[in-house]
């Protein structure tokens, strides 16, 4: 067979590139891979990782790599399920955790830390509710990074100028009544000049915060759906009474959004549900509010009720296929249990540590000019032990979405029938939650792996 010069060139290139692909290995950065999804976490950890690497031999050193959340989720899922490379340590955000826990318990793919943590007394050091999201079937698969208690941030300049005393607010009913003067229509355009609270039916995060605060939940400890509960019905009736009708007090002011930020900056919305991490975000993204915002405990759903809630979360986990689990465990403890890191974390991002013994650090008592001299660290810590316990069901995102849809439908009914009081909305709220629960249950019934009796059958 005769081949032309061009054919030989093509064949040569094909062979050379194939050999290159087969034998050339991209240089790997030194150190064991530690995957993170947050640039700000990375910046906080870098000095400590550098210090760890200085004091440990090369084979025990770590290299922190930031990978965008969705990409990290895919790569980790692929690694845990099908044997592609996994890191030696990884930070997992709460929405990813649900997916990690979606299969049989023995397929989680992360090291079960329960016995180590109990044996070393770490469990007792950690704020108890902060362990719940990382626990499935009684086993803990990650060290918690945070507590994320939620307070109410309010425009102190506007509230105080109106002569309103926030000390008089104990419940959400008090809140709506006492803050009402701020909603005057001074420009006479037929609409209030301000709305009291950044809450809307399309914001599942704030809906979850309010449901958890009231003692509601989406699943019980056995992962059974409890969406259709009286507490949840009461909460969603309350939320719809805030966001529907001519006297609504709520407005759509999402975080990380230009319009939402504008509403807070302009005073179009007076108050915001504020987890500790959001306080850090505001300090960075909304410097115009410095000296104009204060924090207070959330108004309770009833007198004597819980004055906080919880939003978001991260854990540090070790994949079972980590090259050296003991070394990774030492690294994880050094990082997450460190007093220095807790302090840096608070200074950089306003996030408080779940390690209770660090809560006496004076850094948390430092007055913060952004919050008009309030010690925001101490305010969050005061509420940290009271944050509600969350379950880690893999169907949690679906449940939150179903309840959000229930609220949207309830609001439509409220406006169609001009019903705006929580008590009048309650029967409809029960109907909508029943429908939401049926939707989630149908999804759960579809998942063969989540039924306890089937878990034993499917081991590989």
């Amino acid at each position: 067979m005769q081949l032309s010069l061009g054919s030989w060139t093509i064949c040569g290139l094909a062979v050379a590139s194939s050999l290159g692909m087969a034998f050339w290995k991209a240089p790997a950065p030194p150190g064991k891979p530690f995957w993170l999804f947050s640039q700000s976490h990375s910046l906080t950890y870098m000095p400590m990782i550098a210090e760890w690497n200085k004091t440990h031999p090369p084979e025990h050193q770590f290299n922190g790599t930031v990978i965008a959340g969705p990409a990290l989720e895919r790569r980790l899922a692929s690694g845990l399920l099908s044997g592609t490379p996994v890191p030696d340590a990884v930070e997992i955000e709460i929405s990813m955790a649900a997916k990690v826990y979606a299969g049989p318990l023995d397929a989680v793919g992360l090291v079960d830390l329960t016995d180590r943590m109990n044996h070393e007394g770490i469990t007792a050091q950690i704020n108890a509710p902060s362990l719940a999201p990382w626990t499935t079937h009684g086993r803990i698969f990650g060290l918690p990074h945070d507590v994320h208690p939620v307070l109410l941030a309010y425009r102190a300049d506007l509230v105080e100028a109106a002569g309103i005393r926030v000390e008089d607010i104990e419940t959400w009913d008090d809140f709506a009544r006492i803050m009402a003067p701020l909603m005057a229509d001074k420009d006479r355009d037929g609409y209030p000049d301000r709305y009291l609270l950044g809450v809307w039916e399309t914001n599942p995060a704030s809906i979850e915060i309010l449901i958890l605060q009231a003692g509601g939940e989406f699943f019980d400890q056995n992962f059974k759906s409890v969406i259709n509960s009286e507490t949840n019905a009461r909460v969603i009736s309350g939320i719809v009474s805030w966001i529907a009708g001519p006297k609504r007090i709520g407005a759509n002011a999402p975080n990380f959004d230009a319009e939402g930020n504008h509403l807070f900056l302009s005073g179009g919305v007076v108050c915001c549900l504020m987890p500790d991490w959001l306080a850090g975000v505001w300090m960075q993204d909304l410097p115009g509010l410095k000296g104009k915002v204060k924090l207070m405990p959330l108004p309770a759903w009833e007198k004597g009720g819980r004055r906080t809630s919880v939003a978001g979360g991260t854990m540090l986990s070790i994949p079972e296929r980590s090259t050296d689990v003991e070394n990774s465990w030492d690294f994880a403890k050094r990082l997450y249990l460190s007093r220095d890191l807790a302090e840096t974390l608070f200074k950089n991002s306003s996030i408080i540590t779940p390690i209770k013994t660090h809560w006496n650090n004076p850094v948390y008592d430092k007055p913060n000019p952004y919050f008009c001299g309030q010690a925001n660290g101490r305010l969050f810590i005061n509420e940290a032990p009271n944050v509600p316990i969350r379950t880690s069901s893999p169907f949690r995102p679906a449940a939150i979405q179903a309840v959000t849809d229930a609220i949207i439908r309830l609001k439509q009914r409220a406006e169609a029938q001009s019903i705006y009081t929580p008590s009048a909305l309650l029967p409809f709220a029960r109907e909508e939650l029943k429908r939401a629960e049926a939707e989630v249950r149908s999804q759960m019934d579809r998942n063969f792996f989540q039924t306890a009796e089937n878990q034993a059958k499917v081991s590989p």
Partner: protein, 292 residues
């Protein structure tokens, strides 16, 4: 240059072997696997259960599937009934003899389709902003009593999607129609004119029959594109939107396959969509064939 005839008989097979290998490994094998997967439930490669027709049964029993199907077909219907007549209208305008600046207008109308779908979705999400968005700002300026806040992306999800897609695809489809119109013979049009046919009669009886094959192709392309709708609502609504008003079949597939990790169920959705598309294509071909 002379062609050599001395190659052995297997030479062509050697040359097509790389393509066939890649095609078999990355197309044929996954396609067959996806059929098998549609009858299974999996959690990674190690945990596999044969579930028979359960995925298809669950699919038909899931209200979200019907919502997705309804949304997708509404969008497809709008594409065919609004977008294509607009494209054809623009093409007819640009095909008028003696029109000055034709190339310029052609570029202007076509240019939105040069922009990425994700960018368009981002742009329209800003334009449909509830308070400060361009659409509401204009409406507040020109419509007395228009509310200070109006949520297009909550209350009029499908309309917002259709408007965004019109902006993007009208010019693109216009090019097909324009090409077809330019191949219509002038003799027939002039003869009809002499016989006293008005503009509509000339279009109905002379021009349209000539561009019908292209119109059929564009309709099919639009329907297939509409049934594959994903990025536009996904970015514009940051997911399926309130009460899944922007959920499409492909987004439903993505959510089940990659957000809930239920690849078996997602395969069942994929094959159901494929059967729908094949059915539509055959139906359209038969319809066009019968009319011809």
């Amino acid at each position: 240059m002379s062609l050599s005839t001395s190659h052995p008989r297997w030479t062509p097979y050697v040359f097509i072997a790389p393509f066939l290998t890649v095609f078999a490994v990355f197309m044929v094998y996954p396609l067959i696997q996806s059929i098998v997967l549609a009858f299974r439930q999996t959690y990674g490669p190690d945990y596999v259960i044969w579930v028979g027709l359960a995925n298809f049964r669950n699919l038909l029993a899931d209200p979200d599937f019907w919502t997705a199907l309804k949304n997708t077909f509404t969008y497809a219907l709008a594409s065919v009934t609004i977008q294509l007549p607009l494209s054809l209208g623009l093409a007819l305008l640009l095909n008028r003899p003696g029109l000055r600046g034709r190339a310029f207008f052609r570029l202007i109308f076509f240019s939105p389709s040069l922009v990425g779908v994700v960018f368009v979705a981002m742009m329209f999400s800003v334009m449909f902003g509830e308070k400060e968005g361009l659409v509401n700002t204009l409406l507040r300026t020109f419509v007395p009593g228009f509310p200070p806040v109006f949520a297009w992306l909550q209350n009029y999800v499908m309309s917002a999607l259709i408007v965004a897609s019109l902006w993007m695809y009208v010019g693109f489809n216009m090019i097909y129609f324009l090409a077809a119109l330019q191949s219509v013979g002038q003799d027939g049009i002039e003869a009809a004119e002499i016989d006293g046919a008005n503009a509509w009669q000339r279009f109905r009886h002379v021009i349209f029959p000539e561009i019908k094959p292209v119109a059929g192709f564009v309709v099919l392309l639009s329907i297939i594109g509409s049934l594959q709708l994903f990025e536009l609502p996904f970015v514009l609504l940051n997911g399926a939107g309130p009460e899944r008003r922007g959920l499409t079949v492909v987004m439903y597939l993505y959510q089940n396959g990659f957000e809930r990790n239920d690849l078996g169920f997602a395969s069942a959705i994929g094959w159901t969509l494929a059967v729908l598309l094949i059915g539509l294509a055959i139906g359209q071909r038969k319809l066009m064939g019968k009319e011809e």
